[in-house]
Symmetry: C2
Subunit: 508 residues, 2 copies
């Protein structure tokens, strides 16, 4: 029935646990399944990149969950390689096709495909860290990438420190834990409870919800977030920040940190970091910048000016799994002053951190990351950089940022679309607003946007997202697929018009 | 120079950014590189599983970091597929070979290799979640696995809730954030600061350092951890817990949670969960259990008794990337009472959580996890379960737990080894202590253990870890490689004897 020669195996009721384990760990199965996987991926990418499939494969949650669960009772008569291929095909046919150029949605990229193959080396062999000796090469690659990107920010190798963690929210939490511990002095040991006015955090009014969550997690409390006012381009206003700080200082509130954005999520606004740094330095408060999306502007000669002053901040985060186009999750945290690197957690575990191996603390990642055991999250980034150099990252930033501007110009030139902001990067918010709905309330117009989007994404034609502008529904794209070009954006406008007509007609 | 036919491509200075991007995203490169990767992995696994390579490839950190950095200036004349293969070979030759049966170290497994291929589908195509629509299939697989494992704990499908996060430390932090918010009522909004005695957390004296870190992060303060005493087998003593709770209640301290272990890290001791639950119910306090390692005992008929009572706790964590033998990181958090699932974070982001798509909140993972964007961490687990069924997981638990007992018996029977505990699972702590060093101080004997281990792991013969027992150095193994058998453990004892002789001679 099955033959060793064609690298296929069957799990026909092996008789012992040892035999069942040997079968699952057989290198021959890894090879036969691996080659099938690569063939399936190659075919999939040809179809997806040429827009021959749906962008999003939409199925309602209960149906999808039931299907996922149905596979958990395998038929043990099936050939293992065939079973593997069947499962992979199911995964590919039910997923979200980010490599379709019509995917221009959340701040999650169509990554360089080969980055995922480098990550696979880590997954199959399970390279991890925490202490250097568990993953000497994984730790070294992380160290090398931290060093490289920190220098792109503008720092000298010996002065700063950095780490990689699982996502921007966790990165913000990590940096703000450090800020809290440094700013409050003894919060790690005695807790946040103290006499007098409660500690506060000053936050960009449009900051990602992960920042407010950090205040909740850290015991500061979301009520103790002071939202700093924005200018007309939705950037943090340094004058309002100055006033806030004067006021809070006068009332005796300890200041945990000021959190600025490069850029803020809704319309991609980059804060004036030099001016904000001046204010923070004058008040002697910790400045943290969420540069999850915009940190990559450092890599572009054309757009580096957007993050002028980034090298002056106390801490920042920068997601490689956004504008460096590698798979999720690979988020960097940086501290300008290397001396702060062990302030996050002030403890160690004797069985992990070995006094008999001195000098390891700078290479034992677990001393600085929330994760103890941590997967090798930078293999993809290191691999892509090592194959293509910095140039490819600069290209991808330039192309997508340029296209954001172009899309805005197309929208502004069209009489049936409404724009809100000149984009600074690849994020554009807008509404479809043809003459026939101009008389409706903003609330009604907002509801129409959400309905158009829902039908558009469920049709599989495009994937875009929604947001609110001035409290009402709007459409939003992030051009975070380097394969997207101007023609796709024109097609998007036409698709919105087509669905919009139906939605508006139905609403009449 | 290069030919389309043999699927190899060169990056000979393409002239435009678009061309450079097209080259990096070319499905043909993905295929040619992918097939090379699979061949390299197959060869690697044959050698590693037959112990034909070193277990740990040790190189000191500065040298390794310099090497990792040296690849970041690629030579653009090289063929891309060849360059890819060169990088992968470097990764494989410098990593830690967890699939060598002589790897029996930290609580990080030699995973089922094919699990990494399922993870690769997620990495290459970048399947993520946060909201259901971004990763409908990834979200559904997570939901199905949560449902399956929760039922293995002993709960009915409709009553509990769960999630997956990046590692045990983050899982503990997530569950303890929930516990803090529920126990203190308004900590999320107003912070931890309050009048009166500070809130406290009662923790198993041997709990993982991640638990104490959670107290630090959550604003409770590490000084406000009450360490609960252990019995003679280093299990939490319910009587001492009862006394602690009476005392703390009397003094007016709010109780955030009691944290028990299944099992604790040092010697793998499983707490008596039913007795501890009785105490916690009587005092009406939240019981959290770190079952990162031992949760998988649920899957074994032979060892399920170790976690009797697990279904009674308020929250627990269970790492699939430990005793379910999938790659890092895939950690589960469970709440017995489904109503607690949204207590962790009491907020939302308008552009993520859509009031126009009702009923999604149970499928939008971002409402419950620290991560916003989250990679598809359960693809490997779902794939392995779907190929081999629950039986394989039961086999792997049984084989490795059995072997822990066998190793203990071998050590106990040898006159030159010292044992400390009858193992309950696959964790065994011991010392090498031949007659000639019996007269030395425990401090000196402990130092000898560390020196033996350092030389042993750097030689590449075995990978084991160290810990302290009663304050002094000891050796420790976790048999977390299903390919390890009794012969490897005998060889380990001989290798320790051989290196031990040299170390002891040198110390004279």
């Amino acid at each position: 029935m099955t033959s060793k020669d064609d690298s296929s195996m069957s799990s026909n009721d092996p008789t012992s646990p040892q035999q069942r384990i040997a079968e699952a760990f057989d290198p021959q199965l890894l090879e036969s399944a691996g080659h099938r996987l690569v063939d399936l991926l190659g075919e999939h990418f040809r179809l997806v990149e040429s827009s021959s499939k749906r962008v999003l494969n939409w199925t309602d949650p209960p149906t999808n969950v039931e299907t996922a669960a149905s596979f958990l009772r395998p038929d043990f008569r099936s050939n293992l390689t065939e079973r593997f291929a069947e499962l992979v095909q199911e995964m590919l046919s039910r997923g979200h096709n980010l490599h379709d150029p019509r995917y221009i949605g959340h701040q999650v990229p169509a990554p360089v495909p080969i980055a995922g193959l480098f990550d696979a080396v880590g997954a199959v062999t399970n390279q991890v860290m925490a202490i250097y000796e568990m993953g000497p090469w994984a730790s070294s690659i992380e160290h090398a990438m931290v060093c490289e990107l920190g220098q792109q920010v503008g720092w000298n190798e010996d002065q700063f420190s950095g780490l990689i963690t699982h996502g921007g929210s966790l990165a913000n939490l990590t940096a703000l834990t450090t800020a809290r511990n440094v700013s409050l002095g003894d919060a790690w040991e005695v807790g946040v409870a103290r006499n007098g006015p409660p500690p506060v955090m000053l936050v960009h009014a449009d900051a990602h919800y992960g920042v407010a969550r950090s205040a909740g997690i850290l015991g500061i409390g979301t009520n103790n977030i002071v939202s700093v006012g924005l200018d007309e381009r939705r950037r943090m206003d340094p004058n309002q920040l100055d006033e806030n700080l004067c006021d809070l200082r006068q009332k005796g509130h300890p200041i945990v940190a000021v959190v600025a954005c490069a850029c803020a999520t809704p319309i991609g606004a980059f804060d004036p970091l030099n001016d904000i740094s001046d204010v923070c330095q004058r008040h002697e408060v910790w400045l943290h910048v969420d540069a999850a999306h915009g940190g990559s502007a450092c890599l572009s000669k054309r757009y580096k000016h957007l993050v002028d002053g980034l090298e002056r901040v106390d801490s920042l985060i920068w997601d490689a799994h956004k504008m460096m186009f590698v798979p999720a999750l690979c988020a960097f945290v940086f501290y300008r002053n290397k001396e702060h690197r062990f302030e996050t957690f002030r403890q160690n575990a004797p069985y992990l951190f070995d006094p008999s191996a001195p000098g390891m603390s700078d290479y034992d990642s677990g001393l600085r990351t929330v994760e103890c055991t941590k997967r090798a999250a930078a293999f993809g980034l290191w691999g892509v950089w090592s194959m293509f150099g910095k140039q490819l990252f600069e290209d991808m930033v330039d192309i997508t940022f340029d296209l954001g501007r172009l899309f805005y110009e197309k929208l502004a030139a069209a009489s049936d679309f409404e724009t809100f902001h000149e984009p600074e990067c690849n994020i554009v918010m807008f509404r479809y607003r043809p003459t026939e709905i101009r008389a409706l309330s903003t609330d009604q117009i907002g509801a129409i946007q959400l309905e158009i989007r829902r039908r558009l994404i469920q049709s599989g034609q495009f994937y875009i997202v929604q947001n609110k502008f001035d409290g009402y529904g709007a459409l939003r794209v992030t051009i975070i697929n380097p394969l997207t070009d101007a023609s796709h954006l024109e097609e998007l406008m036409d698709a919105i018009r087509e669905i919009g007509k139906i939605v508006i007609d139905e609403a009449k």
